[in-house]
Symmetry: C2
Subunit: 343 residues, 2 copies
């Protein structure tokens, strides 16, 4: 237990990050200070926001420094505790980063009960992605019964939950995804009314047909062509929670003209659109509501979820590249170490 | 009283409307049907939204038909009434249009009391422009004490009221206008903390200096360079009520690239901006609150106002051109006929 494999941000990426940017190295297991807790990583959550942390651009959270271990939420098991709040063997959610062992401040940790839900869901449907879906709809999208809700990256960790919550609320739900099997899955497994593949040549026609009454809520995860197509179909008073723009995270320059920004703002005015960017932690006060509602929905079978588990920290970089390219199927996790709850 | 001078939309304009688009003609005074009211126009309100009504483009209200009298809110006096709700001599607010006489449905009319406020204010500070300022701040901008509020077209009918309400609410208020005397006026007469001329070469620097703590609310009336400059200074969680985009109303094509829309949406996300288009009539339920608050503010001297009155219907077209070019000083009105309340 003296080696701690970890992936560091060796060099900030331009465009798609690769092995020269994210390097696997062998560090040592850190000392556990008074009041701290040493955790063995079981699952590392991979999420699109991490691309932003690799960049020096000012954003809502500080960048990871070059040479530092990449940040990330993890589910793990306590190896050694010098805090009264946790004991050896506890399963926990913590910001462990891309590594096998991390030392954590108990204030940043939450105990998990494997009897209540699979521990991996603490970084998925019952964690940040699920909460993102929940508050984006509840606080911004505010879908009303009978309205049409469109969600991009529909098969992803956030999108799959968005669509299912909107269904529970009595909306027509249309997904947009980038593969036939993803589209089929969200319709068959999650009960979406339709799902359209943005890679199809007649994507815009398909989307229009799937939304005969226009679009009232667009949960924005991707940007790009999907955003443009949706903007042609938005109804007056449509709401657009802006959660992510994964199609642009590797952009290195502004696209060619014409400049569509003035025309966009004209549409915002004429159609009285609401556009609102958000990060889930802005709505932390809704956490208890979310845990209560989502636990009930999962228990009652109203919300289902899919996880895409990649084995081995050494595969984290290629898995993350795949995430930015839409190759994952559901919530992407790296199993960094053995999960004893599966035995 | 048999001639009714009126201005018709002869031909939809491309770019700036002129005499070939808006033609003065002599019509006849219409017959007054059962239940209707004939009104002599005293003041015609000229407002930027009218440019939209001249266009065939789909918008929040139907276009004026070619050959029809241009629409517009008017203040007038009842000449003949076949309704029990109004009598000859009453002063009224009604949708009379660009003409000397109009026949109106009583449901679209409101009686005015010249003893309470100058009748012209019914299309100004106590009318649509004042209400626009009121609801844009109350329902979208939601300025908090100590925040910085920027308003463009600061000396205009809406802008001057926006700034004064934000001052009442304890904000730092910075105006943007297009002439030195306008900037001086909003500071001296309305108590804005600062006002910057967007035509100055160092406009962006001046705006930055005027907003040392960034911008929390931007009340958007103009678009163009002002919008771009503001976007460089917005704080996290800034709110942008989009009320108008007068710099673009005569645009005939999209500006050259690069395409700034994706970058804009990136900023919306990272800074968690709220962008919301609105039209005052979406918030008609706030009308009574507005009348109560604004009447009190005017009575207490907390809100002042400036009107720019042009004499003669024959000068309406050039006055409207001037409005689109920022030549007016305060709320623009055409005095179409004698105002007996001034005697």
């Amino acid at each position: 237990m003296t080696v701690n494999r970890q992936i560091i941000l060796a060099k900030r990426p331009t465009g798609m990050p690769g092995d020269e940017n994210l390097k696997l190295q062998e560090g040592s297991v850190p000392e556990v200070g008074e009041g701290q807790v040493l955790v063995r990583t079981i699952y590392l959550s991979l999420d699109p926001y991490m691309r932003g942390r690799m960049s020096a651009a000012k954003s809502y959270a500080a960048s990871v420094e070059e040479g530092a271990v990449m940040e990330g939420a993890t589910v793990g098991q306590v190896v050694e505790s010098r805090s009264g709040d946790f004991k050896q063997g506890d399963y926990v959610l913590c910001p462990g980063g891309w590594q096998e062992y991390s030392v954590n401040n108990p204030k940043m940790m939450r105990k998990l009960d494997p009897a209540q839900a699979p521990i991996s869901t603490a970084v998925g449907v019952l964690g940040m992605p699920g909460f993102t879906a929940y508050v984006g709809l509840a606080e911004i999208g505010k879908p009303q019964k009978g309205e049409t809700v469109v969600v991009s990256a529909a098969a992803g960790a956030v999108g799959q939950v968005v669509g299912q919550i909107a269904r529970i609320q009595g909306c027509r739900v249309v997904g947009v995804a980038g593969a036939e099997d993803k589209c089929k899955h969200v319709v068959d497994a999650y009960g979406f009314d339709a799902c359209v593949n943005y890679k199809d040549a007649d994507f815009r026609d398909q989307l229009k047909k799937a939304c005969p009454d226009g679009i009232d809520v667009y949960f924005e995860n991707v940007g790009g062509d999907t955003f443009d197509a949706v903007m042609e179909l938005v109804n007056d008073f449509a709401r657009i929670p802006v959660c992510g723009r994964i199609a642009h995270y590797n952009d290195t320059e502004m696209p060619q003209g014409p400049d569509r920004l003035p025309g966009f703002m004209g549409k915002v005015l004429v159609k009285r659109l609401l556009i609102k960017g958000f990060i889930q932690f802005d709505y932390a006060h809704r956490g208890p509501d979310f845990q209560r509602d989502m636990s009930a929905w999962i228990r009652d079978g109203k919300v289902k979820y899919q996880e895409d588990v990649v084995d081995g920290l050494e595969n984290a970089v290629s898995a993350f590249q795949g995430l930015l390219q839409g190759k994952n199927r559901g919530k992407l996790l790296v199993r960094v170490g053995e999960d004893p709850t599966l035995n």
